[in-house]
Symmetry: C2
Subunit: 407 residues, 2 copies
């Protein structure tokens, strides 16, 4: 039985992967009077009096929604909201098991941004945070930006920022091994969708000034007439030398290639045009932009992919559980650039003194990941003024360690 | 410490009452590949191919939402969506503990019917059913009707139908004790809100032709210029004698009084104007329309209230868990009049040969309630052509018995 048949049987046998349970027993009249009528009236009155108490008397403080419209699901494309539910349930499982975050899958039957934004906004009484998932670019950028502006919830689009955080962590360590200064490197990015855009924004934020982005039509430059709004924005902050041409032209002299595109677009010949000690992130799934074997033949020693059967897997599960764990526990009011950067730095730092070519990124089951990322994110939230300064980082660490151990 | 202080501490200590958990472990790479990428792609592909498989590969088949806008919460009134969350979490606890139904609280920050209906419709990919809760009349009728028409989900407004089912069950038994034919009785109903309207519709459906309804302004008749749309509908199907006047006029010669109104509006003098062997449902909370002591003095032997500290409590928890359990397990496509009636009959039937004046309604913790109601509802769904005829009632019964035992 292959993994697909096995997964089908697994989903059928369990009838899905999540459940909503009661944390309290109701075995007698008194328990009923506490959990429901008449006792429940009192927390209601308290919240009506002081809306800040909402998370004190309900499960909302640890409750997020995994929201999708099913428009860009895994490698399956636009399969719609209904067919996306198994993925969203899976994401909720990962939030719970890797981060202790309670997450509920909301699949919205519309691919109209106004409708999606309005729907999510209306549900703010039930959720502290929203993890956007598998929503196609460029629509995903607009949804995320509007929800950030128009709600008080934590908003995070994992396809963008989860991938970006883990990629950046791997890049930090690769550059440590090669003793290259991140501010001096030249990066070529192939793919300008959700993940690509967030990676570029993070790189830009940490001071990488030489970035050239390619899409399926070649190098993105401000003279191209076919760019959508989000690619026009990318053209402004990248390609300062105004290069034109193909991916093959772009990679000449680059230190780092990052692909979030499609299989086999990077050739050994292209790699040979890069600077010495090239670093390759070939993140296309399931087939990377170049196979590790071919890359190795072309002289690559440090390479990451999206796959668990090759070294250096860029797996979002290293990021999103800790990002939300830290932000929720700090009582943060947003997930900002500094918090994402802190997550990347913390993730990279786990391997200090212990990394090698095939180990620039921690493994998904490393118990250090959750506490390290959560604390770094919480700390950055406090330092940027987006969480109360009295937040107890030590408590957050101990709690996250407990969650890691339990898994 | 009174119940309110204790409830506050209970909610704070538990930080709310529900949680979303994973039903599957993800302790290694293989488990991750089954629950998430790449294995999860296969159920997605199957559902994309055949949308009927959605509930086969996900938790949706047992997942409902408890939906409120916070406009009529318990006895607290319009406290808004946020402050209603403790009640909605409590309802989800009851669904889980009494019915094995997974329920998630969705508090919608709008009291505009169009917006509420649209929001709920958009979430159909995530839910098999919707339990509307604490939405003010008459808005609740429109929301329920539109959701019934415009979605494929099970739609049930518990404040209406839960109360109606349990009241009807109690009435069936009271009439058995007094050997009165339900088709011959005269019913006076005080209160024409959510519960009152549903009770009237159910009574009407079982053939009670002599019903007079009062609201705070007196008897509802078609000549009154101040009636909203839903009361105009009531005027059409009740008060065939076109009575006018006050509640005191209405009760003269009545067999049954049902109050879903406010405290102390029914006096001993009014009761003395009723037929011999009057039956009183005084369901106002926390103070009934007349106290049991006063009613007893006025000659009442059968009386029900909404309170657990008096005999014959009309508690919705006797109905909604079994209604959804039966409808979900039968694969029903609606919750119709016959199914509600079957629930009432089943509930009444539990006490056959064992009832007395103070025991016309089963107790909330009676383990027979869930299986009996669930099977009756499933059977009615099949008989009305709203569930597949191959449904295995014996399986439904055994499963419900298992849930009752576990509690």
């Amino acid at each position: 039985m292959d993994i697909y048949e096995e997964a089908l049987e697994f989903h059928r046998k369990n009838t899905g992967k999540i459940d909503v349970i009661s944390k309290v027993g109701v075995e007698n009249e008194h328990a009923l009077a506490l959990a429901y009528s008449p006792g429940v009236a009192q927390p209601c009155r308290e919240i009506a009096r002081d809306p800040e108490l909402l998370n004190t008397y309900t499960a909302r403080g640890n409750m997020i929604a995994v929201v999708s419209d099913g428009s860009a699901v895994l490698g399956l494309g636009n399969i719609g909201a209904r067919a996306s539910l198994p993925v969203m349930e899976g994401k909720c499982v990962l939030f719970r098991e890797f981060g202790g975050v309670s997450a509920f899958p909301l699949c919205i039957e519309s691919q109209d941004n106004d409708i999606i934004v309005e729907t999510v906004k209306l549900l703010e009484p039930s959720f502290s945070g929203i993890n956007l998932e598998d929503i196609a670019a460029p629509r995903c950028f607009d949804i995320e930006n509007r929800l950030k502006k128009e709600t008080g919830m934590l908003i995070f689009h994992d396809d963008q920022h989860g991938t970006a955080i883990v990629t950046l962590a791997g890049l930090f360590n690769a550059l440590k091994i090669y003793k290259k200064d991140i501010k001096e490197i030249r990066v070529v990015m192939n793919g300008a969708g959700a993940a690509g855009t967030s990676i570029i924004n993070l790189l830009n934020y940490v001071g990488v000034s030489d970035i050239v982005v390619c899409d399926s039509k070649g190098i993105i430059h401000s003279g191209r007439p076919d760019l959508n709004v989000s690619k026009q924005e990318l053209a402004k902050i990248t390609n300062t030398g105004n290069m034109k041409g193909s991916l093959s032209d772009a990679v000449a002299g680059a230190d780092v290639f990052i692909g979030v595109s499609i299989a086999n677009v990077l050739t050994p010949e292209m790699i040979k045009k890069m600077k010495p000690e090239p670093v390759i992130f070939a993140l296309a799934n399931p087939e990377p932009e170049i196979s590790p074997a071919l890359a190795r033949e072309a002289g690559v020693r440090i390479m990451a992919t999206g796959r668990s059967d090759y070294p250096n897997q860029v797996n979002n599960v290293l990021a999103f559980p800790g990002v939300f764990r830290g932000a929720l526990d700090a009582g943060a009011d947003e997930i900002n650039m500094e918090m994402k950067l802190a997550a990347a730095g913390a993730l990279a730092g786990i391997l200090t003194g212990n990394m090698d070519y095939d180990y620039i990124i921690p493994k998904p089951f490393d118990p250090r990941v959750l506490p390290t990322v959560a604390v770094a994110v919480a700390k950055a939230a406090i330092e940027t003024g987006h969480a109360p300064s009295g937040t107890d980082l030590d408590y957050i660490k101990k709690k996250a360690e407990g969650i890691s151990r339990k898994k």
